[in-house]
Amino acid sequence: MSVLADLAAGFAGALTPWNLLMCFAGVFAGQLVGALPGIGPSAAIALLLPLTFGGDPTSAIILFAGIYYGAQYGGTLTSVLISVPGEPSSVMTSLDGYQMALKGRAGTALGIAAIGSFFAGTIATLGLMILAPPLARAALAFGPPEYFALVVLGLTALAAVGGSVLKGLSAGVFGLLISTIGIDQQTGVARFAFDQVWLLDGIGFIVITVALFGIGEVLSSVGKPAPAPITNVGNVLPSREEWRQSRMPILRGSVIGFLVGVLPATGATIASFIAYIVEKKVSRNPEKFGTGAIEGVAGPEASNNAAAGGAMVPMLALGVPGSGTTAIILGALIMFGIRPGPELFDKNSALVWTVIASMYIGNVMLLVMNLPLAGLFAKLLRVPYPYLYPPILALCVAGVYSQANSIQDVWMLLGFGVLGWLMMRYDWPAAPMILGLVLGVIFENSLRQSMTLSHGSLTIFFTRPVSAFLLACSLLAITAPLIIKLMQSRKQVPA
């Protein structure tokens, strides 16, 4: 009953005119950035962070969450119409979605994706509502060693899901390293400030995030040729037969997506891969996959949307993000002075439940927007990127400058933007770096508190069951991909 009462209160908060507007703005912006190649939800949230600072945190998180799950819908457009996924999580959709578009069934592909995404998003929000509060309650007993282990798990898991564990870990450690710039809160010693007053507060989360995901993404995208989109969308409503073929893939995709999304740092991309593979395995006609099978669109699309909801579970309940974008939302929470983690449901219950309620509303908005307006959004793909990126760069500069009215911050933006470009160019993931930066202070404080509790003994991390379990999971997250890689390379070597 308590959950229903909390949800009712959440709806009361989410249905205020301002929060409804934020929800609409979020899903609309998410839909746009998901559709436009060269800018993703991480960059969009990073760009909007400066505009929300000083405002109401609940409205800001509603906006960011809307961008996050809205982008999953938007990514489908480019996957289906130009075979270029707007988001990594839409890669699998492009396999069959684009083939459907070539056969004149672009509307059906987009329609089933929108319907599947709506069901999946709703199921995921329901799952979030059921799973997150007890998880947060259980985690309320966490002490400093458990927090320390949780941060280690978050960093290692996020590092492990990219292409290279070593590159991911390097990026995560670099983020931790950056977090040590400024005054040490415990001892009052200025570290790595180079006698510069403006560095005593450290390098702002917004500067780094906008640089890596805004400037870095622009630099990675300029000069790349844009393929011509198929803009004739046609009828978006699936036929009875197409609906019959799609309903089980949508259901399976929703469940897979939510469960995968809940696991720290797995996210929507892996969820859509698994959903596609499962659909192909259970299909009576697996040979149809890759040639325009509607199940190949319905399953992955449901899955990536459910995963976006699932990823909010560890983010809200434990303070461990389930994806790169939720890492930025986590940073935003900290920026607003809210401590993410188990206490969030207790101390900021109104915020959490209003955001959850807004996700139901946002999913309805996205369904309404996507079915009749799919053709209109498709036309957006005709806007050439050369017209888009200079305004994005200008917004990055204005947004970062506005934080502290500091030209030095703008130079940092450019410097870290170049770093972000190089990292993207050579597949060094940027998300672990953001997470390292965000969690650096919590990591250091929990380590110090744990060591003080244990009188300097490291055994405290291994004698407490939850901490030991989380550290074992971290070890698994790092070693499993390395072992798999080793086994694959051995298989390739002829006997």
Binding site: G163, S170, Q186, F192, V222, A398, S402, L414, W428
Partner: protein
Amino acid sequence: MRLRAASGEIFLALAFVGAGAFWVLTALGMQLWEGFAPSSGFLPLVYGLLLMGLSVAALLLEARPNDRTEESNATIRQPLIVIAAMAAGVAGLEVAGFAVSIFLTMFFLLKVTERLPLLPSLLTAGGTVLILRLVFRTWLGVPLPNGPWGF
């Protein structure tokens, strides 16, 4: 082991190694341990050592193979032009003010780098500056830098 990484990736990894080395050297000058717990220098030292080790390992074991087409001047030229234009724009912020500096940077990118028609370039650059000024200066009250002409 023969290193087949692209020169850009080698530069990136070496930059991480350099940052790690700097952190280690600086941290050694700080107090590392106090009582039962780490002091200011401990974690920077650990992070520096880890970053150096991980970056070298990533470069040796998981660097992307050197793709000469991808590394060609043509694919790097445009991002470098954008970086240079941005650097000029940022340098001009305090000299010419936000509006003029950002307008000129955007106009350069649109008209010169992307070779877009004159009028759309002017409208895009001018419109963006106007919107940003309205949002940040008028709505949010951010004192964006002014030039000698008062805007």
